[in-house]
Symmetry: C2
Subunit: 341 residues, 2 copies
DNA sequence: AAGAGCATCTAAACCGGTTTAAAGCCGAGC
DNA sequence: GCTCGGCTTTAAACCGGTTTAGATGCTCTT
């Protein structure tokens, strides 16, 4: 823990000027090869690593990306998406010497989070997750001049590239799977309609049914939490003509719904088929195993980080990236109506 | 998005020197009150906020704290601890203008994470989570000269303050609860013995039974994941004399175990009582609701951040902080042996 | 009236890099 | 022999703050 060497130490040792060291390190042309070798050797011997702080100041970059998440349990909490997404992001950042700065903000005040990250100039760009319809954060970020990448495509104009993963094929596959099993009274527990991914899932639900000439038995709006899943399920089961199958917009609501159905004396899947979305860890292990839809949040994070870095690096017209759609995972929670399958 | 004002702009506007502005901002003595007012007014009019980067460089501080987590699903994934913990940490940092830097590293190479944070001088201190017995990270951090706070108390010597939350009373309460319900054949599914909190829970389990003159029916080692919970549960149920109650070291394993028991044709709690640890979101909503133990990870994060900041601020001999122990939450997954309760 | 003492403020160095303008050196060309 | 131009290299400015040494001006002693 003696003081770390500075660029001046390296310069002195190599017998050159600070500027030359900087040039050598950054691979700038204009230095003779022997000089470069000499400098790099000296740097190596001293174990010198350029100071991020000094670099930050002189090149006006933070060498960090930011993620703002709300404290809202509907978004954060035990959502399986974020941990894996973050891991994917990190896998890219660590190779580039960048850091990930996390901002957790109170419900509804996400704007403050971006404001802080921008004002403090902590990051060079941010991930825009849990995109909403007419998301005000887009204009905010434009105003703040903070580069961004959106997770999913916003409905309005956006100057930022989008990394998208189409939820609709997965949801459609769930519905078709249920149709094949003979279900016709199918209900949906959606997420809050403010979220783009929530409505993508619910419209896919409705449209797939429509393509088969059917109408949804009911669409209840949940809030992606387990508690919301319970509530919505109870309402559905209390209908005069209850559904024989329920498609949930995420696993948390589905697992909670499974519990509610069992608590109401129903047997899943004999009396009621249940499907989720996310393929969270527990989906495989509850009883019965939950039929669900699996995406790849790690890759989502990876791709989002790469894309964001392209715009941070000054590239213009960075194209959107479309990830392979989520796919159906069939387990025991869905079965032919009224019997073992 | 015009360029942000610098301290020189403020100085010019207030008709003073840069130094004076710095003094005024930091509340240093030696400036006449009217001058201070004048400076602050000028800063306000310009909307000036001192640059973190410049400050970082000159005072040699990062104004950020770091958290390293492994990509290992046993630690991360849908663990309900981290999201809430992080939210608690943030609640402290945001008031001090600090940022939280996250490092996600591959399994087993946590050391690299701290190394990187230290070498890049990204943070002023780190949280040491998922403490292990004889945790090598402590010596590493000492060597790196990076301040830290440990979550739970390490067994060896440690120069860092510890924020602790005693898991033993909670686990003990679970066992006593089961004893009161008449159980005597009680098994435990522990976490990996390398973790301090895993062994704390299992020794509390064993000791509480011992105090009642009983021995554990069996102690299986899980890995805190749902898959591990399933495995351990199957082994226990396959015993010639299977347990009538199982105490799991966390909710994920418990919920998975619940599924395994149901899949094996058992009715919980009639045939088997099950208890978890964490009170994760789903615990309340699975069927039957999971008896578990509730801690307060948000407060844990808050306290850890405050404590770490004290050492970062240069305070010596920062005392350990003991949080109120986790408490028992009784739900329907535990019942009197062989009957409705 | 001069020096001491104090409160107030400023100039300049400093943190550790990057970048620009210019200087030094070399052989080629006339 | 001298100038020119290209290749290397350096000195110094710069990023935007903090901090220290010292300048300034004022009152108070004596």
């Amino acid at each position: 823990m003696t003081k770390r060497p500075t660029i001046a130490d390296v310069a002195r040792r190599a017998g050159v000027s600070k500027g030359s060291v900087s040039f050598a390190l950054n691979g700038r042309p204009g230095l003779a090869q022997p000089t470069v070798d000499k400098i790099l050797a000296a740097a190596d011997e001293l174990g010198w690593r350029p100071s991020n702080r000094a670099r930050s100041l002189s090149v006006s970059k933070a060498f960090a990306l930011g993620l703002v998440i709300t404290r809202d349990p509907a978004v954060l909490s035990s959502d399986p998406f974020f941990p894996a997404f973050i891991a994917g992001v990190e896998s890219v950042l660590s190779t580039r010497g960048q850091a990930l700065v996390l901002q957790v903000v109170a419900d509804g005040s996400e704007a403050d989070g971006y404001q802080r990250l921008a004002q403090d100039a902590r990051v060079d760009g941010v991930f825009l997750s849990d995109l909403r319809h007419d998301d005000p954060r887009i204009d905010l970020l434009v105003e703040l001049g903070l580069p961004a990448v959106t997770l999913n495509r916003p409905d309005g104009d956006s100057p930022f590239p989008a990394v998208t993963l189409d939820d609709r094929p997965g949801t459609g596959a769930v519905v078709e799977h249920l149709l094949e099993l003979g279900h016709t009274r199918i209900a949906h527990v959606a997420g809050p309609p403010a979220f783009v991914h929530a409505t993508a899932r619910s419209t896919a639900f409705v449209e797939t049914l429509a393509a088969a000439g059917l109408e949804p038995l009911a669409v209840e709006t949940g809030d992606f939490t387990a508690a919301g899943g319970i509530e919505a399920t109870r309402r559905l089961l209390a209908l005069p003509e209850p559904p024989t199958a329920i498609v949930y917009a995420n696993d948390r609501m589905a697992i909670a719904g499974l519990g509610a159905a069992q608590a109401a004396g129903l047997t899943v899947p004999d009396d009621l088929s249940i499907a989720g979305f996310d393929d969270s860890e527990l989906a495989e292990y509850v009883h019965p195993g939950l039929t669900t839809v699996r995406a790849d949040p790690f890759r989502f994070g990876e791709t989002a980080a790469q894309t964001l870095n392209r715009v941070v690096d000054g590239e213009t017209d960075v194209p959107d990236v479309e990830l392979p759609p989520a796919e159906l995972v069939v387990r025991r929670s869905t079965a032919r109506l009224g019997g073992t399958r």
